[in-house]
Amino acid sequence: MANTVTTPWWMTTVVIPVANIVLAFAVCSLLFLYIEVNPIDAIVAMVDGSFGNTEGLGYTLFYATGYIFTGLAVAVAFHCGLFNIGGEGQATFAGLGVTAVALALGPIMPMILVIPLAIIMAGVFGAAWAYIPAYLQAKRGSHIVITTIMFNFIAASLMVYLLVDWLRPPGSMSSESAVFPTNSWMPRVWEWFGWRRSPLNLTFIVALLAAYGTWLFLWRTRWGYEVRALGFNHNAARFAGISDSKVVILAMLVSGMLAGLFAVNALLGDLHQLKLGYVAGFGFTGIAVALMGRNHPVGIVLAAVFFGFLYQGGAELKFAYEVDRNIVVVLQGLVVLFSGALEHMLKQPLTKLYIRFQVKKKEEPAHV
């Protein structure tokens, strides 16, 4: 039929994302100039502080680990056509599971059992917190965006209650649990490789495995097939005998599980105790990570490193210039804006340009 010209892969996966990031940086530079920080210096400080030495790199990859989990969580739900804004709450809730295992079993079990158990619990708790919104979406049609947002708030309140009334050691004033026994601490990378100290830990490997697992799940199993089929075209899914509600719930369980694994990195890997608000917006930023990573595990790992860089670079900026780290939040917002909400702004003209060029090449001889 019509001469179809497809845009080449490098257009959508390299040129456009990079253009969007550059645009975000450019706009943010204006803000840097306004607050009297030379944007070039700022970027140099950020890059140097996050990749320039093993400590910075460690932090960058540590943050990236968290983003990989929350980004994958968003992506899996997205492939099912769902917007899981509840990563924050799922990770929060999973923190309770991890804490329970670490505090209850840590003293009586060897590391080799405690850590895997804690990982499982993180997944189970995360999934459990995603289950209710999923169920309500599947069976009662409540809008999952609203319900997951509400579940973030509910998780936050629940966490306060449990932490303050139950988990806080008597007499302690901070809202934190007791410190976990050391045999539930994730081995840290710097101890092994002679790096400078950073919280980067074995969970990074778990995150990479999770990314690979997510890819296998989505593109190499029949369940992933059903998730994607439903996400793209729910009529076709119904035609194929795919159960809407089962698949929605499955996708959200996997999504919640991935978000829950965030707790492993943050709690077993770094904090070693449950603290209020320990998720610190990573659940939300996971949405940006997934968007930038185009909802593909490989893209997500790369985007996660990018966001890890932003986060660590932001801290570095603060050390260097005393500017508020929030300027990096602005940068994140701009990245979401340009690579998410305004994705067509550059994509359309660029691809149009490309197509016009290609069509001319193809059509001229045939049609005059």
């Binding site: 803000l31 306004y34 607050i35 917007f83 804004i85 209710i132 919104p133 309500l136 009662r140 049609g141 409540s142 809008h143 965006v145 609203i146 319900t147 947002i149 509400m150 579940f151 708030f153 509910i154 309140s157 629940l158 306060v160 209650y161 303050v164 009334d165 939300f284 930023t285 949405i287 940006a288 968007l291 500017v323 508020d324 929030n326 300027i327 990096v328 939040v329 602005v330 940068l331 994140q332 917002g333 701009l334 979401v336 804006l337 998410g340 909400a341 305004l342 994705e343 067509h344 702004m345 359309q348 149009k352």
Partner: protein, 321 residues
């Protein structure tokens, strides 16, 4: 007991005001087919703009004006992404919320260097409660007088504006040409387009009104309800307003009632700590959770299904490319 109820109702009205503004703002947006989780960010930006402008100028009205301007600008950004470039509405909303969180604190630190807060506002730089006329006159009438004095009178001007806004919005949406087109563009933009009215124009207009109202809500937070901006001061009110809008089935009066309900629950949570129910102390966190749990329960369809404007969240594109 009567006293406690009065105090609660009084607080409810104060706490619900930003929700009312934001819900009405959302109403314009969503009726026009634009999902607006950016309400949260607009409230925050409005609050910051109002506090900063009021501080610099010493005038609360200048603060309101600034909040409205900022509300409208970010509403246009939302429109630019979702209408002009047909971006995803939720993603655009999130981007604005993230931007709002970052921008307010960055600018606040740059201008005031107070950990992201603005300085406290004094005198005319903030709105004060106004005592309505005739309070003394009818004060002596038993119940009515007390209610008038304690509950109706003694709020800031913005509270009264929010009350006035509800019937005004109702009239605009259901009794004017603008309202007819607004509702049509959210139900079936093609019908609007083929009727010779620009879909984009209608949606920009709707979002402009949305920005104005959200700005008012933000201004209320920082220069009427309190007297300074603090980071993350919106604290989820934008989301709650959206939920109220959905309960209200996208109708102003019902949305108002939902806002009052949420406001009431918040007022309860503020005041009732360690309430005992049958000897069991209800943790305050559970009361704080209540609006959220209620939202979830109600959304699960126990109030009858809310039917959203039909083309909400769908980018309008004539040409598939």
């Amino acid at each position: 007991m009567f006293d406690i109820i009065l105090v609660m109702v009084d607080a409810t009205l104060r706490v619900a005001t930003p929700l009312i503004f934001a819900a009405l703002a959302g109403l314009f947006s969503e009726r026009a087919g634009i999902v607006n989780i950016a309400l949260e960010g607009k409230l925050l930006l409005g609050a910051f703009a109002a506090a900063a402008a009021a501080y610099f100028t010493g005038s609360a009205w200048a603060g309101v004006f600034a909040a409205i301007c900022v509300g409208v600008v970010f509403a246009w950004l939302h429109a630019f992404a979702t209408v002009t470039h047909r971006g995803d509405h939720v993603v655009s909303g999130l981007a604005i919320n993230i931007l709002a969180a970052g921008l307010t604190v960055t600018l606040a630190r740059h201008w005031f260097d107070m950990g992201g807060q603005t300085p406290s506002l004094f005198g005319d730089a903030r709105f004060r409660p106004i005592t309505l006329p005739f309070v003394d006159l009818i004060n002596y009438i038993p119940v009515v007088g007390t209610i008038y004095r304690e509950v109706i009178s003694g709020h800031t001007i913005l509270v009264y504006m929010s009350w006035a806004a509800v019937p005004l919005v109702w009239w605009m949406v259901f009794r004017t040409r603008f309202g007819l087109r607004l509702r049509a563009v959210g139900e079936n933009p093609q019908a609007i387009d083929t009727a010779g009215i620009g879909v984009a124009k209608m949606r920009y207009l709707a979002l402009t009104v949305c920005g104005v109202l959200a700005g008012l809500g933000g201004a209320y937070l920082s220069i009427a309800h309190s007297a300074q901006f603090i980071p993350d001061m919106s604290a989820g009110k934008g989301y709650m307003a959206l939920a109220a809008l959905i309960f209200g089935k996208w109708r102003p009066v019902q949305a108002l009632l939902a806002c009052l309900l949420f406001g009431f629950l918040e007022a309860v949570a503020i005041r009732l700590q360690g309430v005992e129910i049958g000897g069991f102390v209800v943790p305050v966190q559970f009361i704080e959770m209540l609006p959220y749990v209620l939202t979830v329960v109600l959304l699960a369809g126990f109030i009858g299904r809310a039917i959203a404007p039909k083309s909400i969240g769908k980018p309008y594109a004539k040409e598939r490319t």
